[in-house]
């Protein structure tokens, strides 16, 4: 399983029923709430062994799968 598939699995575990490959504005279109985002942070930290901080919780970092992957990669580096 690559990182993208792993991320989509995490997203579906936190909030199912959304086409994450297609959605480009998860935060700006209010699809993900602040509750979803904090749950997602806990799961991403665990799944990818990284440590996201409150500074990372900008809407542009969580708006779509690509943005999230970029954020994860920047933390892994």
């Amino acid at each position: 399983m690559n990182e993208k598939e792993q991320l989509i699995e995490v997203l579906n575990a936190v909030k199912p029923g959304i086409d994450y490959e297609k959605e480009q504005h998860l935060v700006t279109d209010h699809i993900l709430t602040s509750f979803d985002i904090v749950m997602l942070v806990a799961q991403i930290n665990e799944a990818f062994s990284i440590e996201l901080t409150p500074l990372d919780l900008e809407p542009e970092n969580f708006d779509n799968v690509e943005a999230l992957l970029t954020l994860i990669k920047s933390k892994e580096a």
């Binding site: 995490v10 509750f35 904090v38 749950m39 806990a42 901080t53 409150p54």
Partner: protein
């Protein structure tokens, strides 16, 4: 007709409208002719005159907040520079760099804590001292609250946190700092602003003063005042009678009273924010959105993403996120990881949500009733997260009838919240709730005359239409601006005539001060 004597009562809302009118004419003319980099000087003078006229010597608290922000902002910015100096050193090992950075971080935390304490002290003394001393049997408290203290204190704290986080630069000009905390349209009802978002226009004069902006601003002011003067103040008269326990009314009269209060608060608060937005637009400034058609929400958490947006965003970004991502909360989540993604996070989510909503309640006012008001929404949001976890997966949750039912349930829950918000004591809230099951004891049209009711319904339908258009992403002000000038001017004339004819003021009425202005 205008009630001339009422118009000159110092400190009333109508008096503030008079000041606003003065700003819009004299202030705008001066602002227009002053060059961009110096425009902030006009705004700071206008803001201080406005704050001084309304709040008197208490306006000096704005200067105090500006001084704290200015000096601590620079100090915190210097502290961030020290991290870069440590990073750039080549004479020490990585472990030593980490140790120095950790030490520096502790020092920066203390600096930020001291600055935030200094900003919170006046808020505590003026707003919360009475509540705390009452726990010990004392009645020590301040009668007056400095204008806008609950708003500019949180905006100022946000500014310092942003500098500490490296998300914002420190302001180098103390006069601009003073303008950031005292910008006059924000003092009465907010919204909360972020320095980094508003600095280019408000402080650095990067504004475009166009005729379109001017007309758009006037339209927003006009619509906002229609909401306040024609709807909210008219509803306020009915609400005062319907929910007055001494009147002994019951049944549908009390139910309508609670619903009317909900719409009163919405029309007043969102209307005044439209005025703030309109005034700012005339001066070339863009104000963050504070309301987004809240009554189209299908859940309580969605309602709070649409109602007083800047307050929710402040508590989310500066308290909720850091608290949830703190070591104890993340530790709790990790301990429960075997229970799955939802249930491992849920306890931490509930703890943080209840704490943040208790604080949000207390922000509204220093009393146990407001604390309960906040906790009420905190509990609802925790239960909603649990409910959505199970129902969100079902096909039923995607259907239109389900969304309509959820919209109605949300509306009822919000009205119960408004009942708590409106009641002075818990026993009053309970008594009003109980009276819904008692006989009405009065005819509806003896509390509001039929012509008044017709005006109210027509104005509410106008607000509903505008909200539906906004929900469909159609900006009505833009549509009007694109019309020929005769149509644009006619709309403004109609608004003014409507306010003069149907606004609630005059010798028979006491002008109502904004409810949120009291916070």
């Amino acid at each position: 007709m205008f009630g001339v004597p009422n118009y000159y009562h110092l400190g009333t809302f109508n008096f503030q409208l008079g000041i606003l009118g003065l700003f819009l004419t004299v202030g705008y003319l001066i602002y227009y002719f002053v060059k961009g980099p110096y425009k902030y000087l006009v705004l700071v003078v206008l803001s201080l005159i406005g704050a001084g006229l309304i709040a008197g010597l208490l306006a000096l608290m704005l200067v105090y907040a500006a001084i704290v922000c200015f000096f601590f902002g620079k100090w915190l910015a210097n502290g961030r520079g020290n991290f870069k100096v440590i990073d750039a050193r080549t004479d020490i090992e990585k472990d030593e760099k980490m140790r120095l950075k950790a030490e520096r971080k502790r020092r920066e935390n203390w600096k930020a804590a001291l600055a935030i304490t200094l900003l919170l002290l006046p808020l505590f003394f003026f707003k919360y001292l009475g509540m705390v001393t009452s726990w010990f049997g004392s009645r020590l408290s301040f009668v007056l609250l400095p204008l806008g203290i609950s708003y500019y204190t949180l905006s100022a704290i946000g500014y310092l946190i942003d500098i500490k986080r490296g998300q914002s630069a420190a302001e180098k000009n103390p006069i601009k700092m003073l303008l950031f905390v005292s910008y006059f349209p924000f003092l009465e009802e907010g919204p909360f602003t972020r320095y980094r978002e508003i600095a280019p226009t408000l402080l650095n004069g990067q504004v475009t003063l166009s005729y379109d902006n001017y007309i758009s601003g006037l339209l927003k002011i006009g619509f906002g005042l229609i909401k306040k003067l024609i709807i909210a103040d008219r509803l306020g008269i009915f609400v005062s009678a319907a929910l007055n326990l001494n009147n002994g009314y019951g049944s549908y009269i009390v139910v309508l009273g609670v619903v009317a209060f909900t719409f009163q608060l919405y029309c007043e608060f969102s209307g005044l924010i439209e005025v703030v937005s309109g005034v700012s637009e005339i001066f070339g400034l863009k104000v963050p959105l504070n309301f987004r058609q809240p009554f189209f929400s299908t859940s309580v958490s969605e309602f709070w993403q649409r109602w007083h947006i800047s307050l929710g965003a402040w508590f989310r970004d500066y308290l909720f996120y850091p608290l949830f991502m703190s070591k104890p909360m993340m530790g709790l989540t990790m301990k429960l990881k075997k229970t799955g993604p939802f249930f491992s996070s849920f306890p931490a989510l509930c703890i943080c949500t209840l704490f943040i909503w208790a604080l949000t309640g207390l922000w509204h006012g220093a009393s146990l009733e407001y604390l309960l008001y906040g906790v009420y929404y905190g509990v609802l949001m925790c239960l909603e997260a649990l409910y959505n976890h199970f129902m969100g997966k079902t096909k039923l949750s995607k259907t239109v009838p389900y969304r309509i039912v959820m919209g109605l349930v949300t509306f009822i829950l919000v009205n119960i919240g408004m009942l708590l918000f409106k009641s002075r004591t818990l026993s009053d809230a309970f008594a009003i709730f109980v009276s819904m099951g008692k006989p009405a004891n009065v005819a509806f049209f003896s509390l509001i005359e039929a012509p008044e009711f017709v005006v109210l319904v027509c104005a509410l339908l106008l607000v509903l239409t505008v909200d539906i258009l906004k929900e469909k992403n159609i900006q009505i002000t833009k549509l009007i601006i694109e019309k020929p000038f005769i149509v644009r001017d006619l709309v403004i004339v109609v608004m003014v005539v409507a306010m003069v004819l149907f606004g609630v003021y005059g010798p028979g009425y006491a002008p109502a001060d904004p409810i949120y202005g009291g916070f």
